[in-house]
Chain length 351, copies 2
């Protein structure tokens, strides 16, 4: 069996060989890789040490060593979006820290067939567990792709709990409700909301949280105060303009991510509206842009890096757990409202 | 030899088995992974196809298959910085597209010993070529770590050409010179500059480009007009304040990245200065924030994603090239000045 061979050789590392030969580990690597850069005397010393220690530095040993590592598949979206970046960085960081080998699969669109193919590809490449970013984790759940997957799947920050899947997330509904209640507490009655993109569960859950807070305060839900964007800055400009063009315009706008909120702040500047004196603007996620615009953005802290780090840690644990039929885990991280400069008391009584 | 065994089995994929058995590839995966979710009739069909096709779906075959792929090591910084994110995303994307296996190593600081250890670790894990982000690629070059490396190393966007290493970059010196010349063309004579962090080559090259443009125009280089930041937004606030506190304050400020430029714009708002009427502000990199602040930022387009994608493509090519002593490649991508709203004619004659 290869396994016992690997074990016998396990204690001998390049460092051991280097110490034995009295050279640097880099020199050992160079010799083993047949680099022409090493002097003959050093080369002889390394090869003598290799023979004496019975060190087997070949590719087969290497590939077996890597086959023994836990393999975590990561299905991600390769777009330059600050929240997704923080998710990606957290997963890369955690798997590296845990010594797991990461198998990466980027995917540009949410077609269920393509998601199924990528999941299958990861399984074929030996993934022992799979991490999936939103909205792909949501689409995979809806189409039964995770139920059919032979290895555990962990959804990173889905917009709602996904029945039957392991999830690490915040309570999007509760966070949107809290933020809306905060604006109501500042005296705002005419509060606009910019929904996230269709096809994401947050499209529903964050908007439901906004509506629940209005109802809690006995305020009407006015459909014309709900605009829809696709999470991009540009879509925030369009949705924000629609809200500010209303005859009875909102005194506060809650955008369901920071980029769309930043767009509303930018639009307010352009229209000569002072933020927050004339218009309060709040966002969601607390991505780096929140503190780089003026005035800085009051927003919901959505700990993406911590979520993906915890999800990766859970995936490694599940990958090593051979017991069958584990119940699905639903882990919540805390959200909080981060108070900055873009929201203030309502100074104007709306009609 | 395992190699010939692998070749004999190479044409039979899970898809072939699925077609033969008349089931989906996912079902084949499930059966091969002993999932209990598959009906007995489907299980029997799959196992019959496996026997008839002599398909060997075990882990050893898998690890050998993955050992045959080109392995690209990526030494990166795991920080949430927009330019580094674009570099990371470009490298992930390109290696995935090229079918190369990626070995990831995050590193939090630039200690040469740690960089050497990470490079060595990548080589030991079978990397056939290595990609390195700045400033680690610059530090590795300075300490001879890349010269001693037995596999090709490609530096992604170093701040200057690195003698003896493969580099993919823009001309940082030329770009800073062009941007400064643009500000001089707008009538500015008192132009402040915020340098990048110490320890990066751009600390020198971008600043030299700024100084060269002043000299080209017959203007003096005034040391008090050069402040230093560490590339963070916060450091831009401090450096910007130092420049704006000067008795004869600059009418334009050129920050050597967008985050520091955004900080100067934010600071100008706070001080009641209109950008660009009272103060022109320009950045470097053209990261997403450039269009999300108001007014939007005139900046240098630094194509990070394209640079890292080209660097990864070069790394895969070099990894497959068995000829020794390849001359180091120095590949330049085009920079350009992106005109937006934050810079305008100088309306005030400085003394």
């Amino acid at each position: 069996m290869a396994r016992s061979g690997r074990r016998a050789n396990q204690a001998i590392t390049i460092q051991t060989v280097a110490n034995h030969a009295g050279v640097s580990p880099m020199t050992v690597s160079n010799v083993l890789n047949n680099s022409s850069k090493v002097r003959q005397s050093k080369r002889d010393a390394v090869m003598a040490a290799v023979r004496e220690l019975n060190y087997v530095p070949n590719m087969a040993a290497r590939s077996l060593a890597s086959a023994s590592a836990t393999r975590i598949g990561l299905l991600y979206r390769n777009i330059e979006n600050a929240f997704l970046s923080s998710i990606l960085v957290g997963a890369l960081d955690a798997t590296s820290r845990l010594g797991a080998q990461l198998l990466l699969r980027p995917l540009e669109n949410g077609d269920p067939k393509e998601i199924a193919q990528q999941i299958q590809g990861l399984v074929e490449n030996g993934a022992n567990a799979i991490l999936i970013v939103p909205p792909y984790c949501e689409i995979a759940n809806r189409h039964g792709l995770t139920r059919d997957c032979p290895v555990p799947v962990v959804a990173m920050s889905p917009g709602d709990a996904l029945s039957g899947d392991h999830c690490v997330r915040i309570d999007d509904y509760g966070a949107a409700r809290d933020m809306t209640a905060y604006l109501i507490g500042l005296g705002h009655r005419n509060i606009g909301f910019i929904r996230g993109g269709a096809g994401h569960l947050i499209h529903r859950t964050r908007c439901e949280g906004y509506q629940a807070a209005l109802r809690d305060a006995g305020l009407p839900v006015q459909p014309e105060l709900i605009a829809t964007g696709d999470m991009s800055f540009e879509s925030g400009l369009v949705a924000g303009a629609a809200l500010l063009d209303l005859t009875d315009r909102p005194t506060a706008i809650f955008a369901s991510n920071d980029d769309m909120a930043a767009a509303v702040v930018s639009l307010a500047h352009r229209r000569g509206l002072d933020v927050p004196r004339d218009l309060s603007v709040v966002g969601f996620d607390d991505t780096p842009i929140a503190v780089k615009i003026w005035p800085s953005l009051t927003t919901v802290k959505h700990p993406g890096r911590q979520i993906s780090s915890d999800a990766a840690t859970l995936a490694v644990k599940l990958a090593k757990d051979v017991s069958v039929g584990q119940p699905s885990m639903l882990i919540y991280l805390e959200h909080k409202i981060v108070l900055r400069e873009s929201a203030g008391q309502c100074l104007k009584l709306s009609s």
